[in-house]
């Protein structure tokens, strides 16, 4: 097991290097120039000499391979460089937003899981009944309604009915839990609902499949109670694909909530990615894409480990 974990962990490194090369090349293939965006947009009279000096200051006058080596060298020293737009260290720019994005992802995951597993189980157990139909309507609606649209509806509802708007600035959970939750609970509900719809459907279909297995029939034949059959034998095995979906969705939430963050004015990773790309802030884009890649790799890694914990048939020997 330990050997598997170590090998799996070490495999992350070459994957990261490949991702780094792809990101580095891709951001430079896309047309656009941070210096012009910052200094010329709007018709300012800036001399070509000033533009050249700014490009030199940002290191954009160096050959591409040189820029790549500088960046990789920095990464080896755990230095992601400075944002070309703000001049702040990339790690600080990301760290500032990661706290919010991570908390929102966790809250949305908790809401989604708390809804999806009981609802999916009930729908599977009472397949074909009105309960199943109701759960299906709930989950299909969740899939059909984009979370940002639900977010807009929530804001309009709060504004129109209660003349209330959630706080516009982020307060860390440990500084003021009330203000923190007042801001994040609404986007967490908007995102968590869509997320729960995916997981509910997955739970239902996985459980239906498992309930047809021979060992479940054996469990019933042994005279075990419904709760024991469901919890100990069926659900545990059915959770494998559900965990995969939850894991992937969680990783997506870290940087993928671009529009929802805009709607609720959340200072998160998704908004930062959009800003960095629209400003052609190469160093920041590279740092953010690496973060997303690392996020996905870590979540996959953890999901793999969870398989073994949940399903005794899975072995990493």
């Amino acid at each position: 097991m330990n050997r598997y974990v170590l090998t799996r962990f070490l495999l992350i490194l070459p994957t990261l290097l490949a991702v780094a090369v792809i990101i580095f090349v891709l951001v430079r293939v896309v047309p656009g120039d941070i210096v012009e965006l910052r200094m010329v947009l709007g018709g300012s009279y800036v001399t070509p000499q000033v533009l050249a000096a700014e490009r030199a200051r940002l290191g954009l006058d160096k050959p591409i391979w040189h820029q790549f080596l500088d960046w990789i060298g920095g990464m080896v020293r755990l230095d992601l460089g400075r944002s070309m737009w703000s001049g702040e260290p990339v790690a600080r720019e990301i760290g500032l937003r990661l706290q919010l994005s991570l908390q929102l992802a966790i809250m949305a995951t908790l809401i989604a899981t708390a809804l999806a597993i009981p609802l999916g189980t009930i729908a599977a157990v009472y397949r074909g009944s009105w309960v199943d139909q109701a759960v299906q309507v709930f989950s299909v609606a969740g899939l059909a309604v984009p979370s940002f649209w639900l977010g807009i509806l929530i804001i309009l509802f709060l504004l129109t009915v209660f003349q209330y708007l959630p706080p516009l600035t982020f307060t860390p959970l440990w500084t003021d839990p009330k203000a923190n939750l007042a801001q994040l609970i609404w986007p967490a509900i908007a995102v968590g609902y869509r997320y729960s719809a995916v997981a509910t459907r997955m739970t239902r279909s996985a459980l239906l499949e498992v309930l047809r297995e021979d060992y479940i029939r054996t469990a019933w034949a042994k005279g075990l109670g419904q709760r024991t059959v469901l919890r100990r034998h069926a659900l545990r095995n059915a959770l494998m694909p559900v965990i995969t979906v939850i894991g992937l969705e969680f990783a997506f939430l870290i940087g993928g909530l671009v529009v929802t963050e805009q709607v609720f004015n959340l200072n998160g990773i998704g908004k930062l990615i959009v800003d960095a790309i629209s400003q052609r802030d190469y160093t920041l884009i590279q740092g953010l894409m690496l973060l997303v890649a690392v996020g996905y790799m870590l979540v996959n890694f953890i999901v793999d480990l969870l398989y073994a914990w949940i399903d005794p048939r899975v072995s990493y020997q």
């Binding site: 120039d33 012009e36 947009l41 800036v46 001399t47 737009w85 703000s86 516009l168 600035t169 805009q262």
Partner: protein
């Protein structure tokens, strides 16, 4: 005796009642005005800023996103009076004078002005700040250096005097010094590290820096040692960074923010007024921003002035102004200089320029004739490049496509993300493109600079080299006599928009600034760069 008194009282009764009525008539409406004129101290102003400041150094940035949150920490040498814009008034200068030949400007500096660290401001700080802007050391970026080419040397003969010696008598020199980007820094700091101000704040302004949470908020609190007695009125301010339009409008509706100093679209204005009723006030002004069409003069058929002129003539600006101002933040019809400004062509002259006539049937016939003369009688197909920013680019782009369709041109409207759009313009990878310009001042040195040859100013995307325009730009910049300068400016305008038609002015922008009535002392100007003038604002409750 008693009778007399009663009689006298009765005789005075109508007079007293009359006086009372007059008093009531005069006094009652005067009450709110009086209240408005009595600023109240206290409170925190929350407002929206729709983009993030790249750095904190105004000498190297060009964006309002840096001015709106950080300007209240600084002073300029002289500044624009936002209540009587574009009048220039003293800021850190107490007074100034110009020599008879217009080659020397002497500024007397206020005494007892303190930086936020407690040190005293002297002329050395003013000189060091302007030296950084006009004569930057190697490695220091100053984007407005070309505006001050006329300055030969800056001297600080004593702690209370600064002298600007010029190479030529430059018109509008003091207005240029009043740029809201010319913040005065502490000499000792910029001499030690000229890049220090890129990530730090320390000025003499009405508000001291409290905190900046990147992407979230910028907070300032009142500078109790501010040199203007009794000001500022506010205890502090909080600039909220909100880039989404819907979130911004929600913030304004909820009262979490009282204003956004750039402006909103007509639809957003109407939505806010509908929701907030008389709690909101709307101020509108023609804006020192314009939308133009740039042509790639290196590409056929746009290398032919006849074709460019035909495209300009075919667009109904007056009708466009009426229709588009209902849905987009555009409105005034104008030429090269902002309509209403001292340099603008009067309407009677403007309508004589090709493309500004009101008879569109005649104009379109003329446009078709020009196309025939240019060898494209059947019209042609081309792409109009535009930014993927909705307001006001998209509706104006759609309007242009429709106007050109009416003279037989087939136009594809291609909207692109700003970085790609800009890269294509720079590489001359386009046919025609919607372009724009915004600035803080009507001075021709600033407004005309975009149109000098592309080898002189990289912001000219037309790709043309026109030494006549360059010469006229040079001449107007060195002409102290106002009437002669105006004449040269209008010659420049005629060559740019009519004879060569290198660009086409579509419409000027209309600034619409809604704000809660609670915010008092605010007066919208013709541009969003000189605001916020935070020392003047106060909250009514």
């Amino acid at each position: 005796m008693v009778r007399y008194s009663i009689a006298r009282t009765r005789r005075w009764q109508p007079i007293a009642v009359g006086l009372l009525i007059i008093l009531l008539v005069v006094w009652l409406p005067a009450r709110p005005t009086e209240a408005q004129q009595q600023p109240r101290r206290g409170g925190t102003l929350n407002y929206v800023v729709s983009a993030l400041p790249p750095s904190f150094d105004a000498h190297r940035e060009t964006t309002f996103a840096m001015l709106h949150p950080i300007l209240p920490h600084y002073n300029m040498l002289v500044r624009f009076d936002t209540r009587n814009f574009p009048k220039v008034i003293p800021d850190l200068a107490e007074s100034w004078s110009a020599s008879r030949d217009g080659m020397t400007y002497t500024f007397k500096i206020r005494q007892g002005v303190k930086f936020h660290d407690g040190s005293t401001l002297t002329s050395r700080d003013i000189k060091a700040s302007f030296d950084k802007i006009i004569f930057p050391k190697e490695g220091v970026i100053s984007v407005r250096q070309p505006i001050y080419q006329m300055v030969r040397i800056i001297e600080a003969p004593d702690p209370q005097t600064v002298v600007f010696r010029l190479k030529w008598a430059a018109p509008g020199f003091v207005e240029k010094l009043a740029s809201p980007f010319n913040w005065i820094y502490k000499a000792e700091i910029i001499e030690r590290d000229p890049t220090w101000y890129e990530r730090n704040v320390m000025g003499t302004g009405p508000f001291k820096f409290v905190e900046y949470v990147r992407g979230s908020r910028w907070v300032g609190r009142r500078n109790e040692d501010y040199f203007e007695r009794g000001k500022p009125y506010l205890d502090g301010y909080q600039a909220l960074f909100i880039s989404s339009r819907s979130a911004m409008i929600a913030a304004l509706k909820s009262g979490q923010a009282l204003i956004e100093f750039r402006g909103v679209s007509p639809a957003e204005r109407d939505d806010l007024v509908r929701t907030l009723g008389d709690r909101i006030q709307v101020q509108e002004q023609p804006w020192q921003c314009n939308l133009i069409v740039a042509y790639n003069t290196k590409k056929k058929p746009f290398d032919d002035p006849k074709v460019r002129r035909a495209l300009s003539i075919a667009v109904d600006r007056w009708g466009g102004s009426r229709a588009l101002s209902q849905i987009a933040l555009v409105g005034p019809v104008g030429g090269l200089m902002r309509p209403g400004s001292d340099y603008a062509l009067p309407e009677s002259e403007l309508v004589k320029l090709p493309g500004y006539g009101r008879d569109m049937q005649r104009a379109r016939t003329e446009a078709r004739n020009l196309l025939r003369e240019a060898g494209v009688p059947e019209g042609f197909t081309f792409t109009l490049k535009n930014r993927d920013v909705q307001m006001p680019y998209e509706p104006v782009g759609v309007y242009l496509v429709d106007q050109w369709r009416q003279i037989g041109l087939i136009v594809q409207h291609s909207q692109q993300e700003t970085a790609k759009y800009l890269a294509d313009l720079r590489a001359l990878n386009y046919d025609a493109s919607v372009d724009f310009a915004c600035d803080f001042i009507d001075d021709p040195d600033v407004q005309l600079a975009k149109y000098v040859s592309s080898d002189v100013n990289p912001a000219n995307y037309g790709g043309y080299i026109d030494r006549q325009l360059d010469l006229m730009f040079f001449q107007q910049s060195r002409t102290a006599d106002r009437a002669t300068r105006l004449k040269v400016v209008h010659q420049f305008e005629k060559r740019l928009l009519a004879d060569q038609a290198y660009v086409m002015y579509v419409l000027w922008w209309q600034r619409i600034v809604p704000h809660w009535r609670r915010l008092q002392g605010y007066k919208a100007t013709t541009n969003h760069y000189v605001e916020p003038d935070m020392r003047e604002y106060w909250l009514s409750e």
